[in-house]
């Protein structure tokens, strides 16, 4: 059993997990709830084992490093953090409906990682990446990204519920009615964004400290840095609008989606569409 097999299995388990959460939502099959959570947890543990094994394999190749160094590894890690944060949200807020809007992101990430033809090999670290800051920077950024992905899923959920005739109900008699109340979705969206904002701030700061120790400049307005700052601005605007101007509901739901588009551009678009210092991720 090697790491690529385990990560390959992960793609299918997350697909199945997505289907289970969709079934819970669409057929209001609450009985499946516990089984779905356990299945997702097992899928998560398989992926964790896959990541750990890939880490170990890199040591066997004599080029040991954390599996966080190219596009493939980062997408896999993105899926991992999405599931981790989703399971925490499910545990804290005691609702399984969010799964249908959050777990698909993890499946899509894994499907992209395995099938898009990006390089899946374990490569040695180029000198610029040989730093202890690598793990701190990547982990903090991706916790932020994953939280924003889930916030966007929640925003989408809010908009669906808000458009429907049964927007005021929270019973299981209709599909949309089975979603949590608008107030609850709004509250969880906000809390998830706050969480993401803190980690994005940590990610930007750890990146700045690293850049300073590698190049002597903590900020050089390279496209990746600038886009992370643009994303930070968008969420800062969202939080201010909510705290001081009482924005909520539809507006915040849309902003959670706009913010996530900016996250995706920061993460993915910059690597492929723009050039800059931060080009490790595109290979």
């Amino acid at each position: 059993m090697d790491s690529s097999q385990l990560l390959g299995i992960t793609t299918f388990t997350y697909l199945f997990s997505t289907i289970l959460y969709a079934v819970i939502f669409i057929f209001r099959a609450k009985k499946l709830g516990t089984a779905t959570t356990i299945f997702t947890l097992v899928a998560f543990l398989i992926q964790t084992a896959g990541l750990a094994l890939r880490w170990q394999e890199s040591y066997q190749m004599g080029i040991g490093h954390a599996p966080l160094t190219n596009m493939y590894e980062s997408v896999v890690f993105f899926a991992w953090t999405i599931i981790l944060i989703y399971l925490l949200i499910e545990w804290k807020f005691k609702t399984k409906i969010i799964g249908a809007f959050a777990v698909p992101f993890a499946f899509l990430a894994m499907a992209y990682a395995s099938n898009s033809g990006i390089n899946t090999e374990i490569n040695p670290l180029i000198p610029a990446l040989q730093s202890n800051w690598l793990i701190a920077h990547v982990v903090t950024c991706f916790i932020g990204y994953a939280a924003f992905a889930i916030a966007a899923g929640l925003g989408f959920m809010y908009l669906i519920k808000n458009m429907s005739a049964s927007r005021q109900t929270t019973d299981d008699s209709t599909l949309i009615g089975s979603l949590p109340s608008l107030k609850v979705i709004d509250d969880i969206t906000h809390k998830t964004m706050v969480f993401g904002f803190l980690w994005l701030s940590l990610g930007i700061i750890s990146g700045a400290v690293w850049a300073n120790s590698a190049w002597g400049t903590y900020w050089s307005w390279d496209p990746k840095e600038t886009w992370s700052l643009i994303t930070w601005f968008i969420y800062a605007i969202t939080l201010h609008a909510r705290y001081t101007r009482g924005w909520g509901g539809v507006r915040i739901a849309w902003l959670s989606i706009v913010g996530f588009v900016s996250v995706i551009f920061t993460y993915y678009g910059v690597n492929f569409l723009l050039s800059g210092l931060h080009s490790y991720g595109s290979s």
Partner: protein
């Protein structure tokens, strides 16, 4: 500070903050799409004469240092400062408020409230409840008023400053950045092996800056992984003052050398067509290093040795092996292949010689002095602490009013929190049950 002043109100408004952040977010995109710091001709060729003129007028070629972008950052700073000055006194009042003076009528109308009755005098009840609150960290104050006893306790009053800590942290980061750009510099130096420099050139103005000491590149080397990817760029640098060697330090990417506030980062390299050859006489211990041009005969007069690099094998710019011609005195020269960076032992009449040969490199160093960086890091730490306080802590207040009811005590518990009201509701419920059972 007249708060009715419209200019003051404008700069203190959150609307301005939202506007400025929005404009900063949108305009920041420009510099990620249009390449920065290219010569004017590049823009003319790429975007046409008219656009190039616009790029010139708006300083788009270096937009993050342009007058209008800096003005936006200035506007954001003014907004942060004035908004904080405008709001902070009110917040301070909330922190320092005398909550025992809260009218009982208002406590009776608070959203979160519960009342119940217990046996015993109000004095006994108050003493017991105060002790209870104290043990839960509420540090209650007490006052007799309106024929009863009022207890007040609070937690996290200071958390109201969290958002101002974040605002201040952004200003601290700006101060650090300005400080660094005024008193520091960023530049580079290309030093060939065995050579030394005592000044460097800044990147922006190409101005020469005197280091105040000398830096010599003793050696530079690259290592590759088996698959050809670079593994390591490493230079050995020696710092000299007044011709005296102070320290010798190997540097690589991510592991710079700092001396007297100036930091040297491994950033690039250049391979020459010359060679670096070091000869050592085993017998006398004499040693000399030569920079040898390709295919040019060189003489070590003291030892009467002649040598040359006659041929070289290279992949791209990198020499992997070289063919050396070597002779002592008038003997026939020997010729042999030497791997780059390798050492060969050669026989001479008066003993053996060691020959070490490699391609000559220059190390490319990024040289920076930034005395503001610690201010920036302090600001970053402040920001993270401030965000945690602002997001995860709240100011929670509880009042207990105890009134006599024919020898028994009527207890009214009320409370409020400035944030996370759902969380407060739960802890209020727990507190109520604890107090009722005590």
């Amino acid at each position: 500070m007249n708060k009715k002043n419209p200019a003051w109100a404008f700069f203190a408004s959150v609307k301005l903050a939202l506007f400025t952040l929005f404009v900063l977010a949108v305009t920041s995109i420009i510099g990620t799409v249009i390449p920065q710091k290219e010569p004017a001709s590049v823009y003319a060729e790429k975007y046409g004469a008219n656009m190039a003129q616009l790029i010139d007028v708006l300083d788009i070629a270096d937009m993050y240092a342009s007058w209008w972008f800096l003005a936006l950052l200035g506007l954001l700073s003014a907004n942060l400062i004035i908004c904080s000055i405008d709001r902070f006194p009110g917040v301070w009042k909330q922190i320092k408020a005398d909550n025992l003076s809260t009218p009982v009528d208002r406590i009776r109308k608070m959203g979160r409230r519960e009342s119940w009755q217990v046996e015993g005098s109000i004095n006994d009840t108050a003493t017991r409840l105060a002790a209870d609150l104290g043990s839960k960290g509420w540090n209650p104050e007490q006052l007799e008023k309106d024929g009863g006893i009022l207890l007040f306790g609070q937690k996290g009053a200071w958390s109201r400053t969290g958002v101002y800590i974040v605002h201040l942290s952004i200003l601290v980061i700006f101060v650090g950045a300005i400080f660094g750009s005024l008193l520091g510099f960023k530049g580079g130096a290309m030093i060939a092996e065995t050579k030394q420099v005592d000044s460097i050139h800044t990147f922006d103005t190409q101005e020469s800056i005197d280091l105040g000491f000398t830096v010599r590149c003793d050696s530079f080397g690259i290592e590759f992984y088996p698959n050809g990817m670079p593994k390591d760029y490493r230079s050995v640098l020696t710092v000299l003052e007044n011709g005296k060697e102070i320290q010798t330090t190997p540097i690589e990417v991510n592991e710079p050398l700092t001396y007297k506030g100036i930091t040297f980062y491994q950033s690039s390299y250049q391979g020459y067509s010359d060679f670096l050859v070091k000869l050592t006489s085993e017998k006398s211990g004499a040693e000399k290093t030569f920079i040898v041009p390709y295919q040019q005969k060189t003489l070590w007069a003291e030892e009467n040795i002649k040598f040359a690099v006659a041929q070289a094998r290279a992949a791209g710019q990198t020499v992997s092996a070289m063919k050396i011609l070597f002779s002592v005195g008038d003997n026939e020269p020997t010729s042999f292949w030497l791997d780059a960076g390798g050492t060969a032992t050669l026989e001479g009449e008066a003993g053996n010689y060691l020959l070490h040969g490699k391609q000559l490199y220059a190390t490319g160093l990024q040289v920076a002095k930034d005395p503001g960086v610690w201010i920036v890091y302090f600001g970053c730490t402040m920001m993270l602490l401030g965000l945690c306080v602002a997001f995860f802590m709240s100011h929670r207040r509880i009042w207990l009013f105890i009134e006599d009811d024919n020898g028994a005590s009527n207890i009214l518990l009320a409370g409020s929190a400035n944030k996370n009201r759902t969380g407060f509701e739960k802890s209020f419920e727990v507190l109520k049950q604890d107090l009722q059972q005590s």
